[in-house]
Symmetry: C2
Subunit: 683 residues, 2 copies
């Protein structure tokens, strides 16, 4: 339509002559009729809306793609549609719950351009009772004889939140990946945000926006365009477009988890259900486990990654950690700084890292054997400083070395200012450093996981691309960082505030497991910096912040000063049969109960922000009619993160499912409980 024509139409519309209302062309409800999606065409433009129990949750919101050879969003007609349903239950090799129900209705609608390119796209919606996923499926177009790739400059998908709401979010498109404190603002004050972006309407509905199965595509950011309308912004790529794909292909799933309870977002399995089943076959070699290691002492600056008199990764120091791990039953010992490349300005010279040999003072062969004799496994470490191509060239040799030494888990690292595309001169010639979550890096991370799988190695990526549930397809992708972890408490400028964990559970953790590295019982960072937590809260974090690998991050001799509390860290499992979020409010507090996958025990963790709370918790998750011994690790009566963080008590009492415990959390505090059936507790 040219400008004169548009003006004519507008004039006619003003006179009430033209302009039909948007036409609903397809609609489908979720299995329990909780959610419903409607697709609308408005003068050839495509939009969707989502209702919940008859009320709008997502107001009509645009769908479409901005391709290098023209927008795909107007002059569209519905040319086919079909619906289907699925109800299945699948088993996780490890996870928050052993069994996952996948129950949805699916709507597939084909839209074809009536003019110009005559291209088609399928829009596929999956409606669960607790959320919606949708994606674009781009076929090979009939006229596509050239075989040229499709270049995607941007995605036009929008999310217009219908009711006034607040949001918890971190900025996207800035330097530092995902390592920000979460901000709580009116939704109408969000700028450009990463996902998961978590929203609470004024009347208490919770919505989390994210994506599932981010494979060979640029990550989705959200940019507020006006009011409460958010638009997808694809992470940029160095060559100008965001995504380059050859047809046929599909986008990742754009996801909305929708629940009345904040805890419902956490219990939702929507993200996992929208990923493909495992492609790895037998993954019994992926071992959920706890670990210790040469890490916190580095952040304290008690030792260094670089070689020299304070080098942390020495044979002797590592043996101390192996001894400690063996004594207390930890499977893993992480050692950072074990390989050449750390001396000097490693941050700007990642191509100096050598992943195939150790520094002279780190006898990796002997340590691997020593560990094996003690029933402990070294954990590998690959810091790249974002010299990604350099790392990829060594990938197979590096994993082969580890596999030979019995090392079956590797922590990767991408420490750099990867928030921009910039040219870097390296010994191998100039390279363009890509965005940390652009298509290029998304492909790299999956390549690493796939290469590791060939060697039966699990990957724990730090400074990663955000999690989108790919652990279902690649169960050796065992954890990630992707948020402010414990190291910010070592640095202390500023440390993580008391509300941090209660924010993480309802934001970052919706994406998947996080290697937060909890459990610093000394509550002290570098140079005496104070950690803003009570002692009991450090224990509760093991239950609250899910990961199949959990570090006991503090120094061994600090644990020896708090053996009463350390007992819980020794006992707590990392793999679960069931998970229930009993109560919680975003950024305020959360109470989680999980059942051990390998025993009849239940564990409970509850953490609060800077405010103390008294929370009644009915123990209805326990087996009815069974008596349990509850070992309660709680804040002392006068505990307070600021004035008395070490005030702490351990109590034992017998309880049943009919009891209600009153959790009394101090300001900045928490509580951790182990429930063992009384008939089994005697062993």
């Amino acid at each position: 339509m040219n400008t004169r024509c548009v003006m004519l139409v507008l004039a006619l519309a003003g006179a009430g002559i033209v302009r039909a209302a948007p036409e609903s062309v397809a609609t489908l409800a979720s299995p329990g009729k909780v959610l419903a999606v409607t697709l609308e065409l408005d003068d050839g433009r495509l939009a969707y809306r989502i209702d919940r129990l008859g009320e709008p949750v997502i107001a009509p919101s645009r769908l479409g793609l901005l391709l290098r050879d023209g927008r795909f969003e107007r002059n569209l007609a519905l040319t086919a549609q079909s619906t289907s349903m699925r109800d299945e239950t699948w088993e996780q090799p490890w996870g928050e719950s052993r069994f996952v129900r996948n129950h949805y209705n699916e709507l597939r609608a084909t839209f074809t351009e009536t003019t110009l390119h005559k291209r088609s796209v399928d829009v596929v919606f999956r409606l669960f009772d607790d959320g919606v996923g949708f994606r674009y499926e781009f076929p090979k177009q009939p006229q596509d004889s050239s075989g040229a790739d499709v270049l995607i400059d941007d995605e036009l998908t929008e999310f217009a939140i219908a009711a006034p709401a607040e949001a918890w979010w971190i900025p996207a498109g800035e330097w530092n990946r995902y390592e920000y404190l979460y901000t709580r603002t009116p939704l109408a004050e969000v700028g450009q945000a990463h996902t998961p972006l978590t929203i609470r309407t004024r009347d208490g509905l919770h919505i989390a926006l994210h994506e599932a199965a981010l494979v060979d595509y640029a990550a989705m950011w959200l940019r507020r365009v006006d009011g409460q309308r958010l638009k997808v912004q694809l992470a940029p790529g160095a060559e100008g477009w965001s995504v380059r794909r050859s047809a046929p292909f599909h986008t990742p799933w754009r996801t909305l988890q929708i629940d009345d309870r904040a805890g419902g977002l956490v219990e939702s399995n929507l993200i996992l259900n929208l990923n493909e089943p495992s492609v790895l076959g037998d993954v019994s070699w992926v071992k959920p486990a706890k670990y210790v290691g040469v890490w916190w002492e580095l952040h304290l600056e008690d030792s260094t990654w670089a070689t020299g008199p304070k080098h942390g990764a020495t044979t002797a120091n590592t043996k101390r950690y192996i001894d400690f791990a063996a004594r207390h039953g930890f499977r893993g010992v992480l050692v950072e700084g074990w390989n050449p490349g750390w001396d000097g300005d490693w941050f700007s010279n990642g191509w100096n890292f050598d992943f195939t040999r150790a520094t002279p003072d780190f006898d990796i062969e002997e340590l691997a054997a020593y560990a094996k004799r003690h029933g402990v496994h070294l954990i590998g470490h690959h810091e790249t400083a974002c010299a990604v191509s350099h790392y990829e060239r060594q990938l197979d040799a590096a994993f082969a070395l580890y596999a030979r030494l019995g090392i079956d888990q590797v922590k990767t690292g991408y420490v750099c200012d990867a928030g921009q595309i910039e040219r870097q001169d390296t010994p191998g010639g100039p390279v363009l450093r890509e965005w940390h979550d652009g298509q290029w890096n998304v492909r790299h991370h999956l390549r690493v996981v796939q290469a590791a799988a060939k060697h039966r190695i699990a990957i724990n990526a730090h400074e990663p691309v955000k999690d989108t549930g790919l652990r279902r397809t690649y169960p050796n992708w065992i954890a990630r960082e992707g948020a402010r972890g414990m190291e910010y408490n070592a640095w202390g400028q500023p440390p993580n505030p008391p509300e941090h964990e209660a924010n993480l559970v309802f934001t970052r953790m919706l994406a998947g497991p996080m290697d937060f590295t909890p459990g610093v019982l000394s509550l002290t960072g570098r140079g005496g910096a104070r950690i803003e937590s009570t002692l009991a809260k450090q224990l509760a974090n093991y239950v609250v912040l899910y990961s199949p690998i959990q570090m006991a991050a503090d120094l061994p001799h600090n644990y020896e000063r708090h053996m009463d509390a350390f007992r819980f860290i020794v006992d707590v499992p990392v793999d679960w049969a069931q998970t229930r979020v009993l109560d919680g409010a975003i950024g305020d507090f959360v109470t989680v109960a999980r059942k051990d996958r390998n025993s009849e025990d239940w564990y409970l963790g509850s953490v609060t922000d800077e405010h103390g709370r008294v929370l009644p918790v009915p123990l209805s998750f326990l087996d009815a009619g069974r008596r349990y011994v509850a070992q309660i690790y709680r804040d002392g009566d006068d505990a307070h993160w600021k004035t008395a963080p070490f005030a702490f008590a351990v109590e034992t009492r017998e309880v049943t499912s009919a009891d209600t415990l009153q959790l009394r959390l101090a300001a900045g505090g928490g509580q951790a409980i182990r429930f063992t059936p009384a008939d089994l507790a005697a062993r």
Copy 2:
């Protein structure tokens, strides 16, 4: 201090020379160390603050009284203090729970003026774990030889809420008593409000401000003075002062209920615990019961209060209601318009009411006998139109008549524009009409209750003074109105919105039982006006809105059209052994479970606002190991208050305490469930 002196002090303070910080003179914690109060003197002025788990809830807030012969608030010194504790459990003759624990620590501090009058006052704080009550106790002063009354012009007590918060409130000092829709605003935008005033801080702490044991005193309003600082404003009196008392006397308790959960406010017994035990001895003659009557048809304008062709209170019409009550097991039949005084402009001529005889077409003697034969009790009605002195002159004769006829419950009414003190000319001469909640009316209402008790009659006051827990001391004060009830749905301009009940539970209902008159299953008001509710929600209100008397307000023939739903109204009890608020958010939704006092049955009610919700409810309140038959009265799959209010389903299933029900509430909907032990359900 004169002006020059003040300026000198200010100058010195500016120079950092004078002005000590406020001095803490007394402090006490609650039994579980959850709450603590501190009394401070700042240059002779008295303030208090309240901390919870080490964090401020009430910032330093002024204490004091404005007496006719001078402020009592400055030049004070602490001259005595003592502490004490109490832990007792008492039994309610009827109520939400049979047993109530009263567990507090008490601080009594005597403050004496160092200059001028040398008067003393005791400030008494009672600290519970779930709230605080405090009052002023005014002794006979040593120099008080004149015996003159103490005139109180105002009270200087303040409540400075420490954390940013929202409030749910209705305006005070306007015409219409308490019959407003609740407003949700930032606390910093409250004007002048009635209590209970309910507050939620940004971080989820709930606070309700109210008073307990309002006897021979003016009601407390709250006026915002600045920021989040609220000041007590006493309801005015016609003679210029707000309160006139002879020493010794004490003020009502100023109360703060403080809980992490909204439901904790509702479960709190603080208000009752701060009232005196019953003074009535055996009150087995007070009968919690359901009733029907000539009421809704009057508001529909199907019949009239006035005599004439459409008179509702006729012998024949009343017999129809008695028959209906007998058939379905209702104890009471209310009849409004039974006595002379309704013809013409009764609103402005309340002195025309005669409470000692019936209209000619209402054969009260025969109806009382007819009711008795059918096992039903007439319920009396005394509308005063605020001609209070006129009513008081007939009080004893009126109750004597009712007592002789076996009528043991009376609904009183005070319909008038009693929001101002104004002169009225009446046949008995000019009178000043007092504020509805000034000291004068507060005394009147208690006089009525005391007079009724002598005749073993229970009082259900409409357009009352707000409830402050006096039902503990006078258990014949069986209910009150004091909020927008069902009649607003008859009038329909506008009707109560879907959020109304979810507001009431966390505001008005904190004061005590309300005679809301629920259960209009026709969902239709005057002239076809729509009630903004689903059918199932009408049932849930019987559980959610506590009252020991509950009307089945609709017309008998409307119930006959909905016998499936009506069954719940017939079954639901009105007297409870236990009450638990399982979940809820102010103005959004609430789920309540109550155990029948006279059987092993549990009942559950859940209501929502204009938004549908899916709420998981663990049934842990049921006896562990016992099977129950659940009769579920729920919204139909497509129910919606606006489009499908009658969509409704009744289901029966067996459950145990280990089950979790998913309550699916429609927009504007609800759900009601009766749980009967399976071993008893067969009877």
